[in-house]
Symmetry: C2
Subunit: 228 residues, 2 copies
């Protein structure tokens, strides 16, 4: 699986994937290209430090979403990418992009979708006073934070939580479930029928140390200190 | 705490509360009245079997929501009710009702609110393909399934789940978290500030056998076979 990772900002989920690849936790997966839509995206620095090829395609230089997407596709295909992971990528993708990688574009979102879509999910969860916050890895479709769900995780939220404190708790789970979902995809265990995603052989009974469905499998359920 | 329970249908959450009261799990709580808005509500049968007073106020006989609510209030106050639990009650309450029991009206909903409000939450969760379904006990405000959240529970959802299979899994948790929330309210442990509900001394760290926040306390976390 030749992965392209799209970032707009810090790229901490990119880092989580890089760390898992370097640790040998994602056999068969290589990161072929990290692509940003903004020159200042720190994800580009992370990629360079990890020895991963980078490119930047500034969306402001394109007259339409379709033209921008076509250029993204060209760069990714030139790098031999067959699977795309969005990691804090802040642009909605059009069919021009999605049709180039059918069923191979994933996103992570810091809420238990369909609750709290959009860019302020952590703070909105804290303000709403949810007691269960969380995160979701899903396939991407044309609607924001909407496609078929691969895995969801819940984390506790307290009455004292802020966007930052809750965001950090969620992020720790994001860094586990995103590599886990990519491992399932890379090993051919995922089947999608309509909105239902089935992971062959996965545990849907809700066991394990973390509140995820399906249950995290080794090594993604184990103690783990990321490289950075 | 003199509880009034409002039902429209089967009233299985009413039964869960009755069973806990009868088992001595809700010290200081008595059920003063079960009130239905439809004569055929099976909750009335459950109440009668349990020796609890019942009344039926048919909403179709009132010209406005306010007039209907005023009659509900009159019946409940006549029975000495100070706290109201909605248990599958299908009418939106107006300020006429809510102002009569300020901060003392609770509801249970079969989803992790604010996701999937409304009357078809179980089937909608199954169709959406969520991997985390669940339920919520919250204070009631003028908006449907919207007020400050006391406790939420998550349950696993599989790609094969239906409205019925998922609904049953959720219901098992509803029957635990609703009596737990009432126990907290009855013992004076709940403080509400805006949308944040604090349960004094509760565990917000996400421990325990069930995926709830706060953690269920004994006896609500223990094996338990309801009477019916």
């Amino acid at each position: 699986m030749r992965l392209g990772v799209l970032v707009s900002g810090s790229g901490s989920n990119l880092q989580a994937i890089v760390d898992r690849v370097q640790a040998g936790h994602l056999p068969g997966v290589s990161i072929a290209l990290v692509l940003a839509n903004a020159p200042g995206a720190y994800g580009l620095v992370r990629a360079t430090k990890a020895g991963v090829a980078t490119a930047c395609v500034d969306h402001r230089e394109f007259s339409s979403r379709q033209a921008f997407d076509a250029e993204l596709v060209r760069r990714l295909q030139d790098a031999g990418v067959d699977t795309v992971a969005l990691a804090g990528f802040m642009r909605i993708l059009t069919p021009v992009f999605l049709d180039a990688f059918p069923g191979r574009v994933l996103n992570i979102h810091p809420a238990i979708l369909p609750a709290f879509p959009g860019v302020h999910a952590q703070g909105q969860q804290a303000e709403y006073g949810v007691r269960l916050a969380g995160c979701t890895v899903h396939f991407v479709d044309e609607h924001m934070d909407h496609g078929p769900i691969i895995i969801q995780a819940a984390v506790p939220a307290t009455p004292q939580d802020t966007a930052q404190s809750l965001g950090e708790r969620i992020l720790a789970l994001e860094h586990r479930i995103y590599p886990q979902a990519l491992a399932w995809l890379a090993s051919g265990r995922i089947t999608v029928r309509g909105r239902q995603v089935e992971v062959a052989g996965a545990d849907y009974a809700g066991g394990g140390r973390y509140w995820t469905v399906p249950t995290l499998e080794p090594p993604f359920d184990a103690d783990w200190a990321a490289a950075s």
